[in-house]
């Protein structure tokens, strides 16, 4: 394998692994803000306990997120030196802003959030929780701005040629508000809210199934369900807005997302399918003219197909683009159905009576994770063969001084370290969840709730 494919695998691997954690931090942060806000408002110790419990889980997630996040910043320079020189003038200010406005805010206040319970007043503590959450949301802004600039570059001019070419910034705000940044930031934020809310839903469902900490579990389930339902519904709108931008600015990506080959023909929308790259056609269950309708409001409107473009200007791994996009959408739809159904049961006062539903929620923590990963895979593989759309090819963005053997070494190193890290993470997360909320005498063995639980048919499993 050559340096290019190895460097791409390494970047994809390290960033995918990293991206397990930041959405959880952002989403869990939001849930914790809601919980601690309720504590401040009501003075109910239950909410304080809840915040403390999730803070411990947050610390674990945040710690790994930070540790694995620096890797990408370094990789820009180590593996993608030509890219760094090319985009530094434009991209650098977004990255510097991320560091100074976002990372410093979140990690500064993180100390107070984790260790400041007895050092500062509840209000100052709540403020710190809020700042950590805002900081993590800000960092999403700047990194998505930088990535969006690679998708839809604006506010720059090109100087020099070949290996010495570079993009020079001409308008900072045009760079920040490039055509895709706002839609994509919102899309990413909501994806993160869903990830965090589903983690809380999963943990709560686990306790409900095990008949443990019931008051705690019921209450945190409801808080998370509200956030999950609103976010899942909002994601439909945000996702569609994001796709509209792709349709307007990245026609090759749009064509790849739906496996649309024909030149300027009405485009179908697939529920699922498979791209036959040899024959240049897509097989599957489709809504004829669906993509034309979604992008132009007309089932017969022509949409540029992959055949409109030269082969070397199209994404290479068409099936990865197509499948990951469709996985994301299917999961998104399923989460809407699941959360709305749960809300309806809540309204009917029978939410916690369905044991199978709690089982579904317990495992559903994986859904937003898969959807977030799949969405990014579609976005990034769909941008290929460009690293900066229509400006710089991925194959021309590499470090000249780095050899394939060096990348093999680092790739093996990261694989070993990350497998170990992930195993430890799951082990410790599981342990923390099993351990449950501490100093919760008042919420633990509440006899009234126990008998209630027995009445509605929960049997103790362990």
């Amino acid at each position: 394998m050559d340096v290019e494919i190895l460097s791409r695998i390494q970047f994809a691997f390290t960033i995918s692994f990293h991206y397990i954690y930041p959405p959880l931090s952002i989403g869990l942060g939001l849930v914790m803000v809601a919980m601690e806000g309720l504590y401040l408002k009501t003075g109910n110790k239950l909410y304080e306990n809840m915040t403390k419990f999730y803070t411990r889980i947050f610390a674990l997630i945040f710690g790994i997120g930070v540790a694995t996040g620096i890797v990408m910043e370094f990789e820009f320079g180590t593996n993608w030196a030509t890219y760094s020189k090319y985009v530094g003038d434009v991209f650098g200010s977004a990255l510097a802003a991320e560091g100074i406005f976002a990372f410093a805010l979140e990690s500064g206040f993180l100390g107070v959030l984790l260790f400041g319970w007895n050092k500062v007043s509840p209000k100052v503590h709540f403020f710190s929780t809020l700042m950590v959450t805002l900081g993590s949301m800000f960092s999403a802004i700047w990194i998505v701005v930088a990535n969006s600039w690679q998708q839809t570059p604006t506010g720059y001019r090109i100087e020099g040629q070949g290996l010495n070419a570079r993009a020079i910034i001409t308008d900072f705000w045009a760079m920040v508000f490039n055509p895709s940044s706002v839609e994509r930031i919102i899309h990413v934020w909501i994806g993160a809210f869903i990830a965090g809310a589903f983690l809380v839903l999963s943990i709560s469902a686990y306790y409900i199934l095990r008949k443990k900490y019931l008051e705690f579990a019921f209450s945190s389930f409801k808080i998370a369900l509200i956030i999950a339902t609103i976010s899942s519904l909002a994601q439909l709108v945000a996702g569609h807005a994001s796709a509209d931008v792709v349709a307007e600015y990245q026609p090759t990506k749009l064509a790849a997302l739906e496996g649309h080959f024909e030149k300027d023909a009405p485009a179908d929308m697939y529920l699922f399918g498979f791209i036959d790259t040899k024959e240049g056609k897509t097989i599957g269950l489709k809504v004829p003219g669906g993509l034309s309708f979604l992008t132009h409001g007309d089932f017969s409107a022509p949409v540029k197909g992959l055949n409109n473009f030269k082969k070397e200007d199209r994404p290479g791994a068409l099936n990865i683009v197509f499948q990951s996009y469709h996985i994301m959408i299917s999961i998104g739809m399923f989460m809407i159905a699941l959360t709305v159904f749960a809300c309806w049961l809540w309204y009917k006062n029978t939410l916690f009576e369905k044991r199978w539903l709690m089982n579904v929620f317990m495992w559903s923590v994986l859904l937003p994770q898969i959807a977030n990963q799949a969405g990014w895979f579609a976005a990034e593989t769909g941008r290929q063969p460009w690293v900066v759309y229509k400006l710089l090819r991925t194959s021309q963005a590499l470090s000249q001084a780095v050899t394939a053997n060096q990348v093999i070494f680092s790739l093996i190193l990261f694989t070993v370290v990350y497998v170990l890290l992930f195993a430890l993470f799951i082990y410790l997360l599981n342990k923390k969840i099993k351990h449950g909320p501490t100093n919760g005498e008042d919420i633990d063995h509440s006899p009234q709730l126990k008998s209630m639980a027995n009445e509605i048919g929960y049997s103790s499993t362990h």
Partner: protein, 344 residues
């Protein structure tokens, strides 16, 4: 050429990058140093206190490295590209130990088993020491110069970075951080651990003094290009003089048990060492050992003036904010460490 306060944007951003890395060395320096000393504490409580002394702040300290990296990338993309791709293997090792250090702090307290804690203690101590050493090695290579061709590409061998001078700078950095960390810990501890640390402050100060003395001889005798600036500008001689006095003041303040002033003195020592580095390198950022024409300077490797102007605005708004909440966090956790149910 755009200027501000009589300095061009390139020089100003060089100062900002230098300032951020100095901030990083002072802040993360003490927690790395505390980590490198970790295995010298024998009792479980001592180790926990030492760990919790840096607990609320180490992550914020490390962010200064991320900001410094971002500042370098943004202002001097060519330097970022050249240095990071030149030192591929050391940077990958650096990232690995950085990850191990973060998780050992986080994971250690999660299990009671002695072998679990011992394992993370070793991991934490070795990774802290390795990070300090590797930071010094990279700095040493930048001071010495690296073989860069006309396109800014590294042409040296894989193990080039482990040359004697850079190893010497690595050891000096480790000793500096160990001294700095010991002084920090002495401020945060009580009783017998405190007593033990006062001895460690003395020993690490001796270790640092020996290292810095040998490094100075090495530089003066063998690396002439690192002495030009001060040789040609006599008034700059006050910088090494001030540094020697700052080091002397550390021992004076330790003897008086004024540890806060001792910590300030060691912070000043860190700053002055990096000021000497900056003065001797400027206007170069990376020296090419192949030809002086291939040197990356603040002028031939910088981003455009427009970009630097934006960056300076970002820094002017952001840096005071960062300083404000860094101060708030340190103030919140001032005083001796007390373990509670949320501690590591």
């Amino acid at each position: 050429m755009d200027t501000f306060l009589g300095l061009d944007y390139q020089t100003l951003w060089f100062l900002v990058v230098g300032g951020v890395f100095t901030g990083y060395a002072i802040l993360d320096g003490f927690d790395l140093g505390a980590g490198a000393l970790h295995l010298f504490f024998n009792k479980e409580t001592s180790r926990r206190i030492a760990l919790n002394a840096i607990g609320p702040v180490w992550d914020g300290n490390e962010v200064w490295l991320v900001i410094g990296g971002g500042a370098l990338f943004a202002g001097f993309p060519a330097v970022y590209a050249a240095v990071f791709s030149a030192f591929y293997i050391p940077f990958m090792l650096f990232l690995t130990v950085l990850i191990f250090r973060a998780i050992s702090i986080e994971f250690r307290s999660k299990e009671q088993m002695p072998w679990w804690r011992a394992m993370w203690d070793v991991c934490y101590c070795l990774s802290s020491a390795t990070i300090a050493f590797l930071l010094g090695v990279v700095l040493g290579n930048l001071l010495l110069g690296i073989p860069l061709d006309a396109n800014g590409n590294f042409t040296g061998t894989l193990l080039y970075f482990l040359n004697p001078y850079s190893v010497m700078v690595g050891i000096t950095t480790l000793s500096l951080f160990m001294m700095h960390g010991a002084i920090y810990l002495v401020m945060k501890t009580e009783d017998r651990l405190y007593a033990k640390l006062t001895i460690m402050v003395r020993n690490t100060t001796i270790f640092f003094s020996i290292s810095v003395l040998l490094l100075s001889f090495y530089t003066l005798l063998y690396i002439p290009h690192l002495t030009n600036a001060i040789r040609n500008n006599n008034w700059m001689f006050f910088i090494p003089v001030a540094m020697v006095f700052a080091i002397a003041n550390i021992t004076r303040m330790v003897a008086k048990r004024q540890y806060r002033y001792a910590f300030i003195s060691s912070s000043v020592t860190v700053s002055l060492l990096l000021i000497i580095v900056a003065v001797e390198l400027y206007p170069n950022m990376v020296i090419s050992t192949i030809s002086a024409q291939n040197n990356l300077t603040v002028y031939n490797s910088s981003a455009s003036n427009k970009s630097l102007g934006i960056l300076l605005t970002v820094a002017a708004i952001g840096v005071p904010l960062v300083i404000a909440y860094t101060t708030f966090v340190f103030w919140t956790f001032k005083g001796k460490v007390k373990l509670d149910d949320m501690s590591y």
